[in-house]
């Protein structure tokens, strides 16, 4: 046991030894992140409370709906924990950089496994537990759950986390016996996304919106029967759900029984994973040390189009594109973006506009206007994933950029141009395709395309600039830097930018649209207002295009000093 604790020590000591001079910045970061966390937590609590209050008002059906929702929360909890457990345990057990160091010591492989598994369990579950607590607290408030209920919540969440983490690690160890760990991550993410997409389209094909449409509501009997059907008894999430439901309905014995089931299964799994790790873990680690070989080998073209660009810039562009497409972790992300575009456009296609009480032409153009915001929010998320970590992605190879005959400004603008082209095309495709599906007026089509053309450079410049201002060259996974303080600030500022542009334009756009719709010319005052607003929006776009890049350049230069 002492070896397991010793192996956990570096993490604790690293936390304790954080740079004290950075304390002030850390406090600020913690305050911002904490405030956002509390807001999110409070919002979730308020929404759940409101939903449960609403359910309680429905006689007979209310409790069934509330407990059905609880059962679904547990099922989601189970899936999330297993998904996160697989990714975390893969990294901790097979891909960490300190594996050579610890495996060279005379500590049995199963003890190394045990310490990593404990870390993995905590890392993969703490956030899920914290952010589901408001849901469970709402149930406690509505159904008058006493201290026993809250103890039950904690006990069930912990046992379920242990079960999920153990199942994940068993799956990972089995998979690593067949495929090296560095391949599994990509394959797993790809399979999960495919599964999610199939589920999504199956769900959309069912047209769930018809359930609230009385015309399609043939019988309520089938609906009631579906709601009353119990959750599968063999699922660990069902035991936790039954345990809490029993406690809330006053059946303490039932609560303890189901909680006992959950804990005994968790214990059994822990007893299983240790001997399993003793048998196969080291072989998996050894296999993972195998040098990674390219999946698709083909000769590298020496006649690249980028050779026509000036020396260092051509080299950077060429390097960026090659490393991007050879990194298998990026493939699943590209697949996800493709899926996102299809889902996005498909959702517009199936909008039941004709059934709306608002006039169709008005609604179509209103949606088109709001769609500019939606599409640029999607763009922000994609920028956060790809452009924001672009500087940190240089990692320890950044010395090459520093020693090359290229300025930081050139370096950052090259990065900007690399991401601008594909993201601009993507945003315009989204806007034009959805506008065609909405059958908008030529004015709205023109406005949307020009707006996106002006806003996309601002969002990408913000991503590159903030990524340069808050770089993390030492991160094992720079993509995760988007979850850092800088990434969060990027998302917030980007949202403010998008909303500000739309707010500036909303008034004049409404006036112009209504004038066209009613065939009335605009007054001089309205023209001046429109010109002023559009000019202000344009200036804002230009500022967002320049200022973040300058800021990023300055901060990066200070960081490198």
């Amino acid at each position: 046991m002492s070896a397991v604790l010793t192996l956990l020590k570096p993490r604790y000591l690293s936390f304790r030894n954080r740079d004290p001079s950075a304390r002030r910045g850390r406090v600020l970061k913690m305050a911002v992140l904490g405030a956002i966390g509390v807001l999110f937590w409070g919002g979730l609590f308020a929404i759940t409370l409101r939903v449960l209050v609403y359910f309680r008002r429905i006689e007979e059906l209310g409790d069934i709906l509330a407990f059905k929702l609880l059962s679904m929360v547990f099922l989601t909890f189970l899936s999330l924990l297993i998904f996160s457990g697989i990714l975390t345990s893969l990294s901790k057990l097979y891909l960490s950089r300190d594996l050579s160091l610890v495996h060279a010591t005379p500590v049995p492989a199963y003890k190394i496994f045990a310490s990593r598994w404990i870390e993995s369990t905590i890392d993969s579950s703490w956030m899920v537990i914290i952010y589901t607590l408001p849901v469970f607290t709402s149930y406690g408030v509505i159904y008058g759950g006493g201290p026993i209920y809250y103890l039950g919540v904690l006990s069930n969440l912990v046992s379920l986390s242990i079960i999920c983490s153990a199942i994940s690690v068993l799956l990972v160890m089995a998979a690593v016996m067949i495929v090296p760990a560095n391949r599994i991550k990509s394959i797993f993410v790809f399979l999960t996304l495919t599964f999610f997409l199939i589920l999504f389209f199956a769900f959309r094909m069912l047209r769930p919106e018809r359930l609230v449409d009385p015309e399609f509501f043939e019988t309520t009997l089938v609906y009631f029967q579906a709601l009353r059907s119990p959750a599968p008894a063999y699922l660990p999430s069902s035991w936790s759900f039954e345990s809490l439901r029993s406690i809330l309905t006053g059946d303490l014995v039932g609560g303890l029984f189901h909680s006992g089931l959950s804990w005994s299964f968790a214990g059994l799994l822990v007893c299983l994973i240790i001997p399993a790790a003793n048998a196969v873990y080291f072989n998996g680690v050894s296999k993972t040390q195998t040098a990674a070989s390219r999946l698709m080998k083909r000769p590298i073209s020496r006649r690249s189009v980028f050779r026509k660009l000036p020396g260092p810039i051509g080299a950077l562009v060429s390097k960026e594109i090659r490393t991007f497409f050879r990194d298998q972790t990026q493939w699943s992300q590209l697949f996800l973006i493709g899926a996102l575009i299809v889902i996005y456009i498909y959702n517009f296609k199936v909008l039941p506009l004709e059934k709306s009480p608002i006039k169709t032409v008005y609604l179509q153009n209103l949606l088109a206007f709001l769609n500019m915001g939606l599409a640029t929010f999607v763009l922000s998320a994609i920028t956060a994933r790809f452009a924001y970590p672009a500087v940190s992605m240089e990692r320890e190879a950044f010395w090459l950029v520093k020693s090359a005959p290229i300025t930081l400004r050139q370096f950052l603008w090259t990065k900007f141009l690399i991401y601008l082209t594909p993201l601009l095309i993507l945003s315009e495709v989204l806007i034009v395709a959805t506008n065609i599906l909405l059958n908008v007026t030529p004015f709205m089509m023109g406005l949307s395309t020009i707006n996106v053309l002006l806003m996309v450079p601002g969002v990408i410049a913000l991503g590159i600039g903030m990524g340069a201002a808050y770089p993390d060259f030492k991160s094992e996974n720079p993509i995760q830097s988007v979850t850092s303080f800088g990434g969060l600030m990027f998302m917030i500022i980007s949202a403010v930018f998008i909303i500000a542009v739309l707010v500036l334009e909303s008034g004049p756009v409404y006036s112009i649209f209504m004038a066209q719709y009613n065939g009335i010319p605009l007054t001089t005052g309205q023209w001046i207002w429109a010109a002023g607003s559009f000019f202000a929006a344009f200036i804002m776009c230009v500022l967002f295009f320049i200022v973040p890049m300058r800021y990023g350049e300055r901060k990066l230069a200070v960081y490198l000093r």
Binding site: L7, D98, L101, H103, A104, T105, P108
Partner: protein
């Protein structure tokens, strides 16, 4: 002390090490030289028990690495070429971490750790975070931690990389003294002068196969390069 029998490692279709047979007696410094990608680091990793061989055995002080890895590793001080160190730990905390993992006697720890840090000119940095260390300092710290546990076998991958001339001289003297005291040393290096200066025997590996072993004089004889230095021998053997 170290016995390798039919040691083989395959990475997919590539055979990195091909049926390596070698015995290194107690107190010998064995130098392992070869061109880049010859299989030196793979062999070292198998010796240290970090990767498992595809076939063959590693025997350390009479202990089979595959059968009793913990017992075998207890005898080894391992120094990799590009060591990963916990950047947010201090030098002393890192030594404590290593000592705890090896079950090193806690009572004498502080004295011995300080002595090692002093030996490697790191005593003034004992309580500084490793992230502030230069590459050479990190290399010296890894050596200090490997020697702290007083190993019977020392496995070193490229010991001189990043060290200044003073540290190189100190390490050479240290390795010689450790061998005189009975420590068996397996060392891979590209610095042929170091191999010539400190190693009792040298093995030349090329394309995963051990192509020659012996004292520097034996190698010169085998390569028919009498009177020339080890560099000429190395070039002749590996380019044949």
């Amino acid at each position: 002390m170290i016995t390798l029998s039919g040691l083989t490692k395959r990475y997919g279709t590539i055979q990195a090490v091909k049926s390596l047979n070698l015995t290194i007696p107690k107190g010998e410094i064995f130098g392992f030289i070869g061109p880049n990608g010859a299989g030196k680091t793979t062999t070292i990793k198998m010796l240290g028990g970090i990767i498992a061989p595809t076939s063959g055995t590693v025997n350390i002080c009479g202990i089979d690495m595959a059968a009793e890895p913990e017992k075998a590793k207890q005898k080894i001080g391992f120094i990799p070429d590009r060591p990963y160190l916990y950047e947010k730990l201090t030098a002393m905390e890192f030594l404590q971490f290593t000592a705890d993992l090896y079950g090193f006697n806690r009572n004498g720890f502080i004295g011995k750790a300080e002595a090692r840090l002093k030996q490697f000119s790191l005593i003034d940095w004992a309580d500084e975070l490793i992230e502030s260390f230069s590459h050479g300092m990190k290399q010296r710290l890894v050596m200090a931690s490997a020697l702290l546990i007083e190993p019977e076998v020392l496995i070193v991958d490229e010991p001189m990389v990043g060290l200044d001339p003073i540290a190189i001289k100190m390490v050479k003297e240290l390795l010689t003294r450790l061998a005189e005291e009975g420590t068996t040393i397996f060392m891979s290096t590209h610095t042929l002068q170091v191999a010539e200066d400190v190693c009792h025997r040298i093995g030349v590996i090329n394309s995963g196969r051990l192509i020659a072993t012996g004292s520097p004089e034996d190698l010169m004889h085998q390569a028919d390069s009498t009177g020339k230095d080890l560099e000429a021998v190395f070039l002749k053997l590996t380019q044949e």
